[in-house]
């Protein structure tokens, strides 16, 4: 048993995917000077538009004219293939908008032929297509029934010739010269073609003619040509009018991410990495040297990475929104292309007594929101939001701030220790030293105090092989009395510049 999905006016439906199909729309293609109608939908045909019309002729009919975009059709075809994969792993992408599914053995799983046809139709409708579905005993009969009859068609075994008899011969999709010959003989439908004597037909039209007759009788049985999987998980959309604001852009991103995630979910995959490529329309007034009244296209790329794979399009949308808000494109967006890098789903074992922890995907959004508040990085290019990690170095205050990782480091046994509160950057200080070179007075941040106790000097240095990174200093721990309270500070003298600094306060 074979099923066939056929989407009439496929190029138009691909262009209007998830949009209203009631508008009269015609698609144009060809050189800019000679654009012609290459596809139109039923409402457009009803107002007189036909394939081959020029753009001015179509404009007179008052229909919406759009330029044909091959990427839209590829995305729509991938969507149809995804829909078909829900019912069988053996499918054939016969042509654009036509998919044949091998349903052998699926009756026990899905039900009767009618139930299966209804399921297929509802799945395809859910994805935004208006389609015809046919089920028959061989692939070609199902194909022609779906092309020729609206809605659901079920053809039982042995009824093929009878069921197809009323279809016009144009449905066969044969070459125009063969159709001309058949029309000249007065052959208009499948019934007339099926009734012709086979030997005489072969004498005049050769083996091709005989094959057409067998197709018209519904007597051809063949193997399906398996459809290839989409090579990558990409979605692309070209906009009629460039988008300047992030909110409408997020609306478009949302629909694209939903489609991508849907495709990943069907293959039990997830993603931890999406690449967004925006084609920007840069107007000439941004560049005073450029000629007036012209615009150029430039691309703008952003990458969103997650620590764990996800299938949730909302998480990715929020991250993309926050990323674009932090790094907005400098010109209106004309085209959006999103690619998801597929990866395996992460399986985790949860437990009733596990300590509370932030959800990884949610934590990534939280960190992005925090970055929007506090900024990305400091002057040393260290992240302002993240998890601190010490570096294997003796340089003071040498650390990095890293994203969360699944691997948790071990720590020493908790024990209260005297902590240092650092001043970043270190505060310049004026220090008076005694004859033994011990600090006795210090002044910093509009304060002056006597040093009651000092410990030092503790000399340290490093990276002597690198002139730019070399450091050499003399550290002191000092005790001050400020407003009657004890204050322990760590100060140091940069031996290269001989300047004093307050590094931090013990607290």
């Amino acid at each position: 048993m074979f099923g066939c999905i056929h989407v009439p006016d496929f190029p138009v439906q691909a262009a209007l995917l998830r949009e209203s199909k009631t508008l009269p729309v015609a698609l144009l293609d060809g050189p800019e000077s000679l654009l012609k109608v290459v596809a139109c939908n039923a409402p457009a045909r009803s107002v007189g538009v036909s394939i081959g019309m020029t753009k001015p002729q179509a404009e007179i009919c008052g229909v919406t004219l759009m330029k044909r975009v091959q990427e839209h059709e590829d995305a729509a075809q991938a969507e149809l293939i995804d829909a078909a994969y829900n019912f069988s792993p053996r499918i054939e992408a016969t042509s654009s908008g036509t998919i044949i599914i091998d349903l052998s053995g699926s009756e026990r799983l899905l039900g009767t032929d009618k139930t299966i046809a209804q399921l297929i139709l509802s799945e395809v409708t859910k994805r935004g297509f208006e389609s015809n579905v046919a089920i028959a005993g061989n692939p070609d009969t199902a194909h022609y029934a779906a092309r020729g009859f609206k809605g659901i068609t079920i053809i039982g075994s042995g009824d093929e010739a009878q069921s197809l008899s009323k279809l016009p011969v144009e449905v066969l999709g044969s070459a125009p010269d063969v159709l001309d010959v058949l029309h000249a003989w007065g052959i208009r439908d499948f019934k007339s073609l099926a009734a012709l004597p086979s030997i005489e037909l072969t004498e005049r039209l050769g083996q091709h003619g005989l094959h057409l007759q067998r197709l018209a009788r519904g007597a051809v049985m063949r193997e399906l040509v398996p459809a290839a999987l989409p090579p990558s998980f990409q979605e692309s959309r070209e906009l009629e009018e460039p988008i300047e604001l992030l909110e409408p852009l997020a609306f478009v991103l949302n629909s694209q991410l939903e489609q991508l995630m849907g495709r990943l979910i069907e293959r039990s995959l997830a993603t931890d990495h999406i690449e967004i490529e925006l084609t920007l329309e840069v107007h000439s007034d941004r560049d005073v040297n450029a000629p007036v009244c012209c615009s150029t296209l430039s691309t703008y790329q952003r990458t969103v990475k997650l620590p764990v794979p996800t299938q949730d399009s909302r998480v990715l949308l929020k991250l993309a929104q926050l990323d674009l808000a932090a790094h907005p494109p400098h010109a209106p967006v004309k085209k959006i292309k999103i690619a998801a890098i597929p990866t395996q789903i992460r399986f985790t074992q949860t437990g009733l007594f596990q300590p509370i922890a932030p959800e990884p995907a949610k934590l990534e959004i939280t960190m992005a929101r925090l970055r929007a508040v506090v900024g990305e990085a400091d002057l040393q290019n260290r992240n302002l939001v993240g998890f601190p990690a010490l570096l294997d170095s003796h340089r003071p205050d040498h650390f990095q701030v890293v994203p969360p990782s699944a691997k948790q480091s071990d720590s020493a046994e908790p024990f209260p220790r005297l902590a240092l509160r650092r001043f970043r950057p270190a505060i310049p200080a004026r220090v008076e030293v005694s004859a033994e070179q011990v600090p006795v007075w210090i002044g910093f941040s509009r304060r002056k105090a006597r040093v009651t106790c000092a410990s030092g000097p503790w000399r340290s240095g490093g990276q002597w092989w690198d002139a730019a990174g070399e450091w050499l200093r003399e550290e002191w721990d000092i005790n001050l009395t400020l407003d009657g309270h004890t204050a322990l500070y760590r100060i140091f003298r940069d031996l290269a510049t001989r300047n004093w600094f307050v590094e931090g306060m013990y607290d």
């Binding site: 929101r369 506090v374 969360p404 720590s411 020493a412 209260p416 220790r417 005297l418 240092l420 013990y506």
Partner: protein
């Protein structure tokens, strides 16, 4: 039957439970890892705001206390968050205290686009919304007292109310008791240092330990210890 009992029964008949005294359940707490403090206060309460107060610019032991608390909580495999308004957190000290750095989300307020205090509160709001953190700490210890006084009381009240529903503790380091009655626990800290070695030879001198005096200014967990004070000692890494 006495007249009071009659009135009581009549009221209870019309409004059941009107005269029943409900005991507030003991809040769950985190151990601060300091025996003297845990014994006096019961610990740092979850679902509430705790303020640790000491004047800016002096050694008080509040950072050591905070790191000890964070070390205890991350040691139990829970995540913590630290909103650092003046970017003064020292990862080396934290590591020496036993804090698991890979479980501490550190938010360093840069003060570029807005004031550090404003950034700190916005960041704290986001962290509370996210949930999943055992302790959320806001370090306003180095912020000028004048700026802290400008924070409206409604901000503290809002934080206290939001935290009530969460299994997390909100700990704020402040130069003075700004949150007032919104805090479930207020600790006022002061410290004194002890030095070892010969007074005349500077390189023999070392900070041997710091004695921290804790005054429990306010607590909802144990009423009877209000204004009680207790001491604990923190030692430097080299001692």
């Amino acid at each position: 039957m006495s007249s009071i009992a009659i009135i009581r029964s009549q009221v209870e008949c019309r409004i059941p439970g009107a005269l029943t005294v409900y005991e507030r359940p003991e809040p769950e707490v985190f151990s601060a890892g300091i025996q003297a403090l845990d014994g006096e206060t019961g610990g740092i309460p979850k679902g509430a705001l705790t303020q640790v107060c000491a004047p800016a610019g002096i050694t008080s032991g509040r950072t050591s206390l905070l790191l000890s608390l964070l070390a205890q909580v991350t040691g139990k495999e829970q995540f913590c968050a630290l909103v650092d308004a003046t970017d003064c957190f020292d990862p080396e000290s934290a590591d020496a205290s036993g804090l698991c750095l890979s479980r501490l989300l550190w938010v360093r307020c840069s003060g570029r686009s807005m004031k550090p205090v404003e950034q700190a509160f916005k960041a704290a709001d986001i962290l509370i919304q996210n949930g999943g953190f055992g302790v959320i700490a806001i370090d306003l210890g180095n912020v000028d007292e004048k700026l802290v006084r400008k924070i409206p009381l409604t901000t503290w009240f809002r934080f206290a109310r939001v935290m009530e529903a969460l299994p997390s503790a909100l700990v704020i380091l402040l130069p003075y008791s700004a949150a007032q009655s919104c805090a479930a626990l207020t600790l006022n800290l002061a410290a004194s240092a002890q030095w070892s070695g010969m007074e005349t030879v500077s390189h023999t001198r070392l900070i041997s330990n710091v004695e921290v005096k804790v005054e429990v200014g306010r607590t909802r967990t144990k009423k009877h210890v209000q204004s009680a004070s207790n001491n604990f000692t923190v030692r430097p890494q080299w001692a």
